[in-house]
Amino acid sequence: MMEYILEVSDLSKSFDQKKAVDRVSLKVAAGEIFGFLGPNGAGKTTTIRMILNLIHPDQGVVRINGFDIKKDFSRAISFVGSVVETPKFYLHLTGYQNLLLIANLHPQIPKERINELIEIVGLTHAVGQPVSTYSLGMKQRLGIARAFINKPKLVFLDEPMNGLDPQGMIEVRELIRKMAADRETTFFITSHLLKEVEQLCTNIAIIKDGRIINQGKVGQLLAGNSERIEIYTSETDRAIEVIQNLVYVKNVISFGNRLVVELDRGCSAQLNSFLVSKNIGVQYLIPNNQSLEDFFIRQTQGG
């Protein structure tokens, strides 16, 4: 039986009569890197804040490691680390002091844990400086270190790549991979940088206007029931004429000497043979994999 570290059911919240989150249900298995995607204002941060009990839901239940966040807050939250939106710090305190404030809330955690995390996130050189002098990338890394102080089983990272330059993104991505490598930590990541999510996450859920519109394994969602291929031929008009009525062809678009064909998964070889049998020369046939970005845009912009 699958072990779920996070179970959310029927979570709803309205602000001033406007539904911000509408009956959201999610299950995140232990060890996953879960991506929570949605356009701006879709309800991602509100959902995370409700999971963390910072915002009171109008209805719904949140269970973390089996403990109800409302009824058994201390036990449920003790498994959690989080960075919600841009990591917030006491800017006049040093990086070390900011981590110390959180370590103080967990008396069982030895103070050496702070130095260990500072080393992992690569901030040893800056830990004695006030956080007001840190760059955004350094703050993100310090935020990640803070999220790990209590050795959490479940870590929420809300837009961890926000404001980072490409080098910073690579560093944070590698950091998350490093932290996730032991499979003892489950990550719940929101991001609008879909390439990052595609590279990191195993499962995703997409939220739009407060509602979950799709969720599942990244590979399966992207694969779907159809695939796209690009066909390069000098006889595009004749090719369109002969293939457009085939049962397994769903859509054909022409771009000069290139056709983009959407067809049932696994039928590309059959289509190639068919074109050859009709004496249409095929120069190239290139599978056109759907990216998470394409999938996300189709999901969030459709209906």
Binding site: T46, R49, L52, N53, L54, I55, H56, F73, S74, R75, I77, S78, V80, S82, V84, E85, T86, K88, F89, Y90, H92, L93, Q97, L100, L101, I102, N104, L105, H106, P107, N150
Partner: protein
Amino acid sequence: MGNLVKNEIIKFIFTRKLYAFLIILSLFQLLPVVGSLMFKINIFNGQTYPLNFLGLVTSWIMPIFMIILCADMVTEEYLNGTLALSLAHPVSRTSLMTAKAISLLVIMTFLLLSTLLIAYVIGTLFFGWGNSFMIQGTTFSTFNGILLNIGLYGISALPLIAFGMVVMFISLQFNSGSVVTGVSIGLMLILTLGAEMVPRLQPFIITTYFNTFSYSLLFFRDLPNILMGVKMIVLYGIGFYLASILVFKKRDLVC
């Protein structure tokens, strides 16, 4: 709870406000020195010098510091998003508010005793230690004088913390530190002036006890006034503390 209080103290110790408060307190205490040097009048000695400031410090300066501290600890922390940091760990909202209330008491007591120490230093430096400690026509030994000063300053923290709970409640109502500061200072002025204009209201107004409570208690004069003071401090303190917790528990932390 102890660790939460420790965190609040750490945050305060490393803030520039602490040093600004201490500098302001020192500057106020230098004013009589300047006056005394200008007019060549010497009516002070080091032992009694702190008494000259008790009224000003407890009635005006400390309440304003209390307002600034509360606005910082609650409203500004909420707006900066740091209030939610502890609550994403096994810390209840009641514990967090209680820790903030205890920290306010500790910080107020520290600032009051620092004021006393600064007054001793400045008084002794400019006017000498003196031979006796005289208050309200009674002379005390040096040791008893020091104890009395510590008592007068230390006990003043009690009506101040009761007022602090009122400000904490106000801090939870607004999403701007400046609005909290303005409303709280306005309330303090209304209460103080109201008490002056309608003497019958004085026993029910917390600002009345800023200056008088510690004197009444230490010299055990006017028992009904002492008992009324205790009642009002408990009523304001506990009442607004509980109201603050109730409000905070229901609040959505969206920042």
